[in-house]
Symmetry: C2
Subunit: 135 residues, 2 copies
Amino acid sequence: MVASEQFGDVFAQLPADSFDKNCPTRPVMAQVTGRWGALIIAALVPGPMRFSGLHRHIGGISQKMLSQYLKSVVRYGLVERLVEPTVPPQVTYSLTPLGRSLAQQLCALLSWFHANTPALEAAQQRYDAADSPAR
Amino acid sequence: MVASEQFGDVFAQLPADSFDKNCPTRPVMAQVTGRWGALIIAALVPGPMRFSGLHRHIGGISQKMLSQYLKSVVRYGLVERLVEPTVPPQVTYSLTPLGRSLAQQLCALLSWFHANTPALEAAQQRYDAADSPAR
DNA sequence: CTGTATCCTCGGCGATACTG
DNA sequence: CAGTATCGCCGAGGATACAG
């Protein structure tokens, strides 16, 4: 076999049915790997946060999208929504154990991108330069 | 601090600028976390594959999307495109070292979803049942 | 403060047909 | 076999206004 050696058990567990078009993980994947899913989960790693806090912390997200993604992750049991019955309503979001376990994977992924940005950018420039120098 | 203990160094490396709206990783993230990005990378883990092989292996993808995503990942230096100058052209795609390193993260993520599907589905049912039983 | 409702735009994506 | 070209749909996502 070709490359298994370098992967240890990660490769061994590669779920073959992920490629099935009816794989039940597809909808969840779609949310988490959606534009904001990963960032929302990651933003909650340091600790619970309020709606406005998230809105401020995650650059470029709109209220609508934040609200929508939050509803999803709460529904999937990844995030817990806590409402404090004060006069100006205070809603706190925090990771559930399940969400925290997912967050580990996502943080690893974000870190990978962070660490490899130089390599990725270099590859793009090489590609663009070789392809169409005059375009 | 709240939860850092459980994360070891993964949390410590949480790149704060991932939340910046101008973070250069956003476009790459968008591709990789797009609908087909992760699956394409993951599909190449076991070994090199041809265009038609990928098309067959990844359930539900169209030629157009496969072609488009492949171009992206090649551009980012994650996948190598090898053309054999035979009469019916044979093009083989394989992971670069960079791509293989990313694949580890993605496989871990796919495995996580695979392993936690029961918990996710249970959470959904609990949520839907509590929310609107009569809808 | 924490959302929800509405409108609108843009581009992801699929289907189909065609080329080298 | 390995794509590219073209069309059209539909839903993600943003802006704004409004509600509890």
